[in-house]
């Protein structure tokens, strides 16, 4: 039987009065884009480019797309455009932690002012002008991007967002293309070698970089240039999003080096697209120091404890992960957990599941691959994509059911001493309470389907009255279900229900009242929850519980089982539970608002209520025991849909465990504490029923496209993962021409439980014969709790390649520490010296002031009290 399905959201529309937090903001409109262009007095072709990008941006299926829009109110955008609209922020307003750090590492006053947004005059205008004069004599252009549009229209028109990063590349690029502002333009004429590194530092008096700055570097034939990105100082931005774009054109025989020391400020992050296209015999070199990264938090399914909040998960817990070779869900172990600090988060909803994650969190998706000449037809392919690259309508992987080898739950013995100490005004005495217990009751050792069905009834419409030692279950008199309950209770506990009243079946037993409360089925309509142990039961038990709940409080909707409650957390429990056994689930949606109403002739204040739908093929084998409801269930239509938004069928990618659902919504949530976990042998886990990757910033990596014969790419990166950080760095190289070469060297340092990962993507295309690539990853672990991982990914499409990959992991040795300490250095100094030595190959590639700064930053990171 096919069990694959995608929830079709439209059918919930009748009930959906969802007052979602997020409405399409009025912020970014065509008018806004036109206004930006007008403010900048841009030529028409640039305006058209912006509008084209905006059109692409808008074309994406639903306008409620989260990250970018939400952060972009009109004022923010115009701020970067309108001259004179200076941000009024003062240095004193910058968060203390950043300020202190900046002061400690001695960031120049000029930079301090720049990052606080206070306008400033560059103190060394003379120096700047002298250098500038030298460049100009050689024909080198080093200009603000906005100015370049006016001054060098031919060059900009030819290279700006054309062949390197086209405007329709991906969502962020589209946005960037529409609203870009500021940045750097560099053109080096043929044969000119710029000896002094060009730095945005020299340009800070022109204009501050913003959220959407664009860097365009063109190294014409045989030229050389070294560009150093911005200032490495913490960029304090009001908005968490930085969607910049860096395009580098390395023409024949030219050489470009691009250095950046970035991202170390822990409360900002970049979603920059950095790419270079390299022509014949050209060389691109990326040098990157990276300090800081992101993660998320949610419910993770563990075995055997059921769903546990990620922040409470223990190292060593067994959890469920997706195994890509078998396309099955398997168990693995949690190797590490890190707290990643407060981060801006977003809610993603798909297939009735929802998850809160940071923008860089990768999800498993299906992407549509166009038909290739060597393929029969177009096809779907698994791909990890970070949240920021997903849009509504995309497919994300969901865990349809977990391979739970559930066990019946051992029920606790109920302590019941009949002698109770009591007291009155005359003193204390012992009271025999034997009469309160029904001695004939037999207790079960462990759960059964009947027992769980009864618990379901309790959840749905039952109440345990521990004060009066009775259990009320609401079932209208006219329903045959009352008899069923009486039968089940008799079978289970050898107890005959004699007391029925109108709509209630009543069990008068202190023992059972105690038992049911003790195992977690107590509480009121507002506070009831599904106990965690239920998640560890055999599937039949879980289904029985859901059936019980349904029989007492659910109803058959035209295409789903519907549950309504004022208790949202309870519905959420139900939803999670239902996903584990294979139901399709809906979002929890608002059903009724707070209002005055009349129930059974009594005036009441109705509370806000919520609803959830379960559907899928399981509905038709649903173990409901209500004859009336069963008849209605038969009428439920379950709908299966394997067709994606692209109109293609993806049935072959699914099975009884793995399905794909369309994303129905992505909305911003604001800052929340975030976590990440590291899993043995796998890099993904199942959270809230969705398959998610460990955190990462894969898409931030510089990408080099070697498209001319003999082109070369060099990438040198360094990452520092301190306590609570997961550093994910890497490099992407595409060998698209013969005789191209690349060398990637990544160095990472992990300390205090920090995790550093190298993720490399290397591809050689069919025609790229005799290409060579070496990847070397060196990791330094400061202590036993830290981790280093290497994930090289290679896609080789021809046989004539020479690729080597080596990874070394070193731990700082006692002998090295002892040696340095025997020369008077403290242990701390010794550690710092060794770390400084380790990163030396990177540092020596940087100009002095950056080297000094990077060293200082690393030293700061090495100190425990900085964080």
């Amino acid at each position: 039987m096919d069990q694959d399905f995608v929830i079709d959201r439209s059918r919930y529309d009748d009930a959906n009065t969802d007052t979602s937090v997020f409405k399409a903001p009025a912020g970014l409109t065509k008018e806004t884009v036109m206004e930006i262009s007008k403010q900048k007095k841009e030529p028409d072709w640039m305006l058209q480019k912006r509008l084209a990008a905006f059109e692409h941006f808008e074309k994406t299926p639903l306008p409620t797309w989260g990250p970018s829009l939400s952060k972009l109110d009109l004022n923010k955008i115009t701020y970067f455009v309108r001259p004179g609209a200076k941000e009024s922020k003062r240095w004193e307003d910058v968060p203390e932690a950043i300020r202190k750090t900046a002061e400690r590492i001695g960031i120049p006053e000029a930079e301090k002012r720049a990052l606080s947004g206070v306008g400033y005059q560059y103190d060394s205008d003379v120096v700047y002008h002298n250098i500038k004069k030298e460049w100009e004599e050689q024909g080198v252009i080093f200009e603000n991007m906005d100015v370049a549009v006016h001054k060098y229209p031919e060059l900009v028109r030819k290279y700006f967002m054309t062949s390197c990063v086209p405007i329709n590349d991906h969502k962020f690029v589209m946005l960037h293309g529409a609203v870009w502002s500021g940045g750097t333009f560099i053109y080096v004429p043929p044969g000119v070698k710029v000896t002094i590194p060009l730095q945005a530092y020299f340009r800070m008096n022109a204009q501050n970089g913003g959220q959407f700055e664009h860097t365009l570097i063109i190294a014409d034939k045989g030229s050389e240039v070294h560009y150093i990105e911005g200032c490495s100082a913490p960029r304090f931005e009001a908005s968490a999003l930085h969607a910049g774009c860096v395009e580098i054109h390395v023409l024949e025989d030219a050489k470009v080096r691009y250095s950046s020391v970035e991202n170390w400020s822990k409360n900002t992050y970049n979603l920059n697209t950095k790419r270079a296209v390299v022509d014949k015999n050209g060389v691109i070199e990326w040098i990157n120091g990276n300090l800081g990264c992101l993660t998320e938090g949610a419910q993770v399914f563990t075995n055997p404890k059921g769903p546990i909040s990620i922040k409470n998960i223990d190292v060593g817990s067994k959890i469920y992960v997706w195994d890509h070779t078998t396309n099955r869900i398997v168990k693995s172990m949690v190797k590490g957990k890190v707290f990643s600090g407060k981060k801006p988060t977003y809610r993603l909803e798909a297939g009735g599941r929802e998850i809160e994650a940071t923008a860089n969190h990768p999800f498993l998706t299906l992407t549509h691959q166009k038909r290739q000449p060597h393929h029969k037809k177009a096809f779907f392919q698994h791909e990890w994509k970070s949240l920021s690259y997903l849009k509504e309508g995309d497919l994300v992987a969901i865990a349809k059911q977990l391979p739970i080898e559930g066990q019946p739950f051992k029920l606790p013995p109920i302590e019941h001493t009949h002698n109770v100490n009591s007291r009155n005004q005359y003193g204390t005495f012992t009271m025999n309470t034997k009469h309160l217990f029904n001695e004939n009751i037999t207790l079960l050792k462990e759960t059964t389907e009947d027992f769980m069905w009864l618990m379901g009834l309790l959840l749905g419409d039952g109440h345990i009255d521990t004060k009066h030692n009775k259990i009320n279950i609401a079932i209208p008199e006219q329903e045959s279900l009352q008899e069923t309950v009486i039968d089940v209770v008799y079978k289970l506990f050898n107890y005959s229900i004699t007391y029925k009243k109108d709509r209630y079946v009543i069990i008068n037993s202190k023992l059972l009242a105690m038992l049911f409360s003790q195992i977690g089925f107590g509480g009121t309509a507002n506070t009831k929850r599904i106990p965690n142990w239920v998640f560890t039961l055999p599937k039949t038990h879980i289904q029985a519980l859901i059936a019980g709940y349904f029989d007492s409080d659910g109803h058959a909707h035209k295409n789903a089982l519907a549950f309504t409650s004022i208790n949202k957390p309870l519905l959420n429990d139900l939803r999670l539970l239902a996903t584990t056994v294979g139901f399709g689930v809906s979002q929890i949606f608002s059903h009724g608002k707070k209002r005055k109403t009349t129930i059974l002739g009594v005036d009441c204040n109705a509370q806000d209520s919520w609803r959830i739908h379960l559907n899928g093929p399981l509905v038709h084998s649903f173990p409901s025991r209500s004859h009336e409801k069963q008849e209605k269930i038969k009428l439920i239509k379950t709908k299966r849909n394997y067709i994606s938004a692209d109109g293609l069928n993806f049935k072959s990618k699914t099975n009884e465990y793995i399905g794909f659902a369309t994303i129905t919504k992505i909305a911003p949530l604001g800052e929340q504490p975030t976590y990440d976990i590291e899993v043995e042998n796998y890099h993904n886990f199942i959270s809230n029923g969705l398959i998610v990757h460990n955190s990462g910033c894969t898409m931030l990596y510089p990408c080099s496209i070697l498209r001319g014969e003999g082109a070369h790419a060099d990438s040198l990166g360094i990452a520092f993962a301190g306590p609570g950080q997961h550093q994910d760095t890497g490099s992407k190289v595409i060998h698209a021409a013969p005789y191209t070469t690349s060398a990637i060297r990544a160095k990472s340092i992990s300390k205090g439980g920090g995790i550093s990962s190298y993720r490399g993507y290397l591809r050689t295309t069919r025609g790229a014969q005799e290409t060579k690539s070496t990847v070397v990853c060196d990791a330094l672990l400061i202590d036993d709790t830290s981790t280093s991982n290497t994930y090289p990914f290679m896609k080789i499409e021809n046989n004539d390649v020479d690729i080597s990959h080596e990874a070394t992991v070193g731990k700082i040795g006692d002998e090295e520490i002892f040696y340095l300490m025997s020369r008077g250095l403290t242990e701390d100094q010794a550690l710092k010296m060794i770390v400084a030595g380790f990163i030396e190959p990177v540092v020596k590639q940087l100009p002095l002031e950056y080297a000094v700064e990077l060293n200082k930053l690393i030293e700061l990171e090495m100190e425990d009290n900085v964080g």
Partner: protein, 256 residues
């Protein structure tokens, strides 16, 4: 002012294995002591324990520098009090430039802040004394050094840091004749009335240069015999198994 390094009944184990079984020794500044003994007798262990290597556990006994008990001080504090160990196998520290390391150590040990230029002058001069290639300073600490280069770099530090007590752990091993002479001359330049030296060695050659005041023979974690320079000569000609020594060992093994 004369200083004294005093080792009292030192018992040391590593990973549960007893290495030193009661070593007592006293060295004053201005004297040179040689420590000899067969392989595995505990000489290098003594050197490391004196410097405070965390791998070794002092089970019993104490180490004093003058009246200060330094038995449990971390290595860097011992260094600041004037202890120096010339390593038999110095650690290679990748990426750390010799100059910056030496200047940091120099400034820390002497509690000063010598400028780069000034230090460079001092370093160059000292290196000339040791006939070291000036290009060495561009290299990283011990990284890719030959055995001789490493030893010379150790003695360079001895000359720069001028400690009160220097423990030279097989500084002579692995050196050719010329290198040995230069290193020994270096040590002689460093020594004086303000420095006490403990030379750990297998050979007399270095002792010919250094002319020790006392020679100690160590075996099985204990100092079995102490004598004048002649004792070293006796060992060289007769080996550690010469009759007098062998009988001593026997007597002692009876005690054990």
């Amino acid at each position: 002012m004369t200083k004294t390094l005093r080792i009292e009944d030192l018992h040391v184990s590593v990973a549960g294995k007893q290495i030193l079984k009661g070593v007592t020794l006293e060295i004053t500044t201005g004297t040179v002591h040689a420590l000899m003994g067969p392989n595995g007798s505990g000489k290098s262990t003594l050197a490391h324990v004196l410097m405070g290597h965390p791998k070794y556990t002092v089970e019993k006994g104490r180490i004093f520098l003058d009246d200060k008990d330094i038995t449990h001080l971390p290595p860097n504090e011992r260094a600041k009090l004037g202890l120096f160990l010339s390593f038999q196998y110095p650690a290679e520290i990748t990426g750390v430039k010799i100059t910056s390391f030496l200047r940091t150590a120099y400034n820390t040990l002497h509690n000063t802040n010598m400028s780069v230029v000034e230090f460079h002058k001092l370093l160059k001069q000292t290196m000339t004394e040791l006939a070291m290639n000036p290009d060495m300073i561009k290299r990283c600490l011990n990284e890719g050094f030959s055995g001789g280069e490493k030893k010379r770099t150790e003695i360079l530090q001895l000359l720069l840091f001028k400690p009160a007590f220097a423990i030279l752990d097989e500084t002579d091993s692995g050196l050719d004749v010329d290198a040995l002479r230069i290193v020994a001359e270096g040590i002689n330049k460093a020594r004086g009335k303000d420095m006490g030296i403990l030379v750990i060695t297998h050979y007399n050659r270095i002792l010919d240069y250094l002319a020790p005041d006392k020679v100690h023979i160590m075996r099985d974690g204990k100092i079995l015999k102490t004598g004048g320079p002649n004792l070293a000569k006796q060992i060289e000609s007769q080996g550690y198994e010469f009759s007098e020594f062998a009988s001593l060992t026997q007597e002692n093994s009876g005690e054990l």
